[in-house]
């Protein structure tokens, strides 16, 4: 090491420099060590170790425990300092009283990222001193710490995770959360909904790396296309705001704020003081920074789904609604109006083409938007179905298409077990969706009615779920909430300009 490099080393140590970009070592880890792996197969540390050992992680995983020479057939080291070579990422699973020593050794070994699972640190009064000891050890080097009280991370590219059954299909969504439980929920529910993550990070107490650092990481990380945060508390609000402004100017940012307590204000002698609660300030901060405010977990998943839609097809223009059942169309129109979502005005050319396709249209009422057709006419002739959808999607005023598919009506018309015709309809929808240039949103209604639609419902969902440019929705509320988020990801938005 040259003298100037040594000077730099010294400088960044003196400045108590913590570099969030070191997280890349953890997300792309090739060699990880786990301190405190038990040989007892019922202990959490052993379960976790085996999961990584047997799971899709392609790198090397080394157990550390002074009481054993070998655990699960792997050579075990008494201390991390005894392991030859570099380690990218260390998970510390020892009880809290042994954590400071583990951190000390990680710092000494120059481990880039250490993750502390144990709780009972800064989040409780009795643990504040212990947390201070961890920080003191970290000040001696460059190691950055995740946690304490952190569940760790999910990185589909390397095959690291914290949940059983992950799909490990990498995407561009990065979710960073102060709640570990929410990490596993969002991963499992999100993957089931077709969301693909770049990384998920449980940050716990944020004792060392803190929210501004994580936001900065997302800005620099090329694999993050959209950043989602679940924040309960932050120490330096201004630093967070500044980083959010920077991030939101280059990527979409979604934020769910947990814990909407009233502020412990110093004074409530003024109107302003009485009226302005903590959440008002968060809300204002998010708007000012250009961050999308999320209302809850469902909203998060639907907003991310809208993001995924925007990657498959451009989002622009207005909505076309088509399906069978007049009443439902009317209710959908009403709900759209309440949400101020505009319906597309069909061109004369489209209207003429529809009249040609549906010659007896006048008996069914006017052709327009929403377009409603009786179930037999809609689904008997799938060639016609395809032509209708294509005609609508070719209209320049139509930006996206919401197709509502009522399985009760379908079962009554074609039989509860008419799988052949169901397959034909599903295949037609799949091939049509692939051909058209606008997003196809498929609202499958009543897919789980006992003895009537449960068989065809399950089959339809399974088939359509894999369709390119098909977004499946279960209920009208979800459909509306998804569409409501479209402007955030529209072609004209700042990130896409």
């Amino acid at each position: 090491m040259g003298s100037s490099e040594m000077d730099f080393e010294k400088k960044i140590q003196n400045l108590n420099y913590k570099n969030p970009m070191l997280l890349d070592y953890a997300f792309n880890a090739k060699r990880i060590a786990i301190i405190g792996v038990s040989s007892n197969r019922e202990r959490w540390s052993n379960i976790l170790f085996r999961r990584i050992l047997k799971g899709p992680f392609r790198g090397e995983v080394i157990p550390v425990n002074p009481a054993h020479n070998e655990i699960e057939g792997q050579m075990c080291f008494p201390s991390i300092l005894e392991i030859p070579g570099d380690i990218d990422y260390v998970q510390v699973l020892v009880p809290k009283s042994f954590t400071a020593n583990a951190i000390k050794e990680c710092v000494k070994k120059n481990v880039p990222v250490v993750h502390v699972l144990a709780s009972g640190f800064g989040e409780v009064a009795s643990g504040k001193q212990l947390q201070g000891e961890l920080l003191h050890e970290l000040e001696q080097g460059r190691t950055v710490m995740l946690g304490p009280n952190s569940l760790g991370l999910y990185s589909p590219r390397t095959g690291l995770d914290f949940s059983e059954g992950s799909r490990f299909e990498p995407g561009d969504i990065t979710f960073i959360s102060q709640s570990g439980a929410l990490c596993t929920d969002v991963l499992s529910l999100g993957e089931a909904e077709g969301l693909r993550f770049s990384k998920i990070l449980s940050v716990g107490n944020c004792a060392h790396l803190d929210w501004p650092d994580y936001v900065r990481y997302c800005r620099s990380d090329a694999e993050t296309g959209i950043a989602v945060f679940y924040i309960e508390s932050v120490t330096d609000g201004r630093a967070l705001f500044d980083e959010l402004c920077l991030l939101a100017s280059v990527k979409p940012v979604l934020l769910l704020k947990g814990g909407r307590t009233k502020a412990g204000a110093k004074s409530v002698m003024s109107h302003t003081g009485r009226m302005t609660g903590e959440y008002h300030v968060w809300k204002g901060m998010m708007r000012q920074a250009g961050v999308v405010e999320l209302a809850g977990l469902e909203d998060m998943l639907l907003t991310l789904k809208a993001w995924e839609v925007s990657k498959v097809r451009k989002i622009s223009g207005k909505l076309m609604v088509v399906g069978c059942g007049g009443g439902v169309s009317v209710l959908i129109s009403d709900a759209l109006e309440t949400e101020s979502i505009d319906l597309a005005q069909l061109s004369k050319k489209t209207l003429n083409a529809l009249h040609d396709l549906i010659p007896d249209a006048d008996e069914m009422g006017d052709i327009g938007n929403p377009l409603e057709m009786p179930v037999d006419r809609m689904f008997s002739d799938v060639t016609k179905l395809k032509k209708i959808i294509k005609t609508l999607s070719n209209d320049k005023g139509v930006g996206s298409l919401l197709f509502h598919f009522n399985l009760i009506a379908f079962a009554n018309q074609f039989g509860t077990n008419n799988l052949d015709h169901l397959d034909l309809v599903c295949n037609t929808l799949i091939s049509t969706a692939k051909d058209i240039k606008i997003p196809l949103l498929l609202l499958i209604r009543n897919s789980n009615v006992q003895d009537l639609t449960e068989v065809i419902g399950r089959r339809a969902r399974k088939k359509l779920n894999n369709g390119d440019n098909i977004t499946l929705l279960n209920d009208l509320g979800s459909a509306l909430n998804l569409i409501r988020r479209f402007p955030e990801f529209s072609r004209t938005h700042k990130w896409k300009s």
Partner: protein, 221 residues
């Protein structure tokens, strides 16, 4: 040790005027005789309020009298305010503020608050009952640009009232946003301010005039 203190009417107005906020014509008097002289000089109707920093809740103690017209009424109003301010615990009840009343198109509240997490924040809301009843407020971190100030007004449910609702004249949005920007900059600059209210600022077709203000500061020892 930190101590919170309310600025006197004179001091809070002086601070805000220096920051660029316009107030209606006003003067502080110390006797009934002075009150008569000022009432002749200013345009009626007038508002009489205690100028004492010690009285926080002026309305609750009846320390504000509105629509005062003429010399006799001015002398009576002065005496009433002094008595009530003394009951309210004022150490300087003889100080009474007289100001020209203004009627405009709509009332707006502009405030500052020092947030524990984000530091000084600016709060804008519709004045009168709207602000308390409907919590029709909008918050930003200080300071804000004129453009952001405009977005804040647009976010209020009562924005239509400012923007020419049902044939009413449109208010001077530029003057309002100037006031918001000025207060937000004051919040960034004067970190000792814990809370500030301009309640209300009257939105006119031309200009925006502050009527009442209150500033709470923290004395650092």
């Amino acid at each position: 040790m930190e101590k919170l203190r309310s600025l006197s009417s004179f001091d809070s107005r002086a601070l805000l005027e220096e920051a660029g906020i316009c107030f209606s014509e006003w003067q502080i008097v110390n006797s009934a005789q002075e009150a008569i002289l000022v009432s002749v000089k200013l345009n009626a109707p007038l508002a009489f309020k205690t100028a004492s920093a010690g009285v926080i809740h002026k309305t609750e103690f009846g320390c504000i009298l509105l629509d005062v017209v003429g010399a006799d009424a001015a002398a009576d109003a002065y005496d009433i305010i002094v008595k009530r301010a003394a009951i309210a615990g004022s150490l300087t009840p003889e100080q009474v503020l007289i100001e020209q009343m203004v009627s405009g198109i709509a009332e707006v509240v502009i405030g500052l608050k020092k947030d524990d997490i984000f530091g000084p924040v600016i709060v804008v809301g519709m004045g009168g009952v709207m602000v308390e009843l409907f919590q029709d407020i909008c918050v930003r971190l200080c300071p804000v640009s004129k453009e952001e100030a405009h977005i804040m007004l647009e976010e209020l449910s009562g924005y239509d009232l400012l923007n020419g609702f049902r044939g009413k004249p449109r208010t001077d949005l530029s003057a309002l946003t100037d006031a918001i920007v000025a207060v937000s900059q004051l919040g960034s600059r004067k970190t000792e301010i814990i809370e500030l209210d301009i309640n209300p600022i009257i939105a006119l077709a031309v200009g925006a005039i502050a009527i009442d203000s209150r500033i709470i500061v923290e004395d650092k020892k």
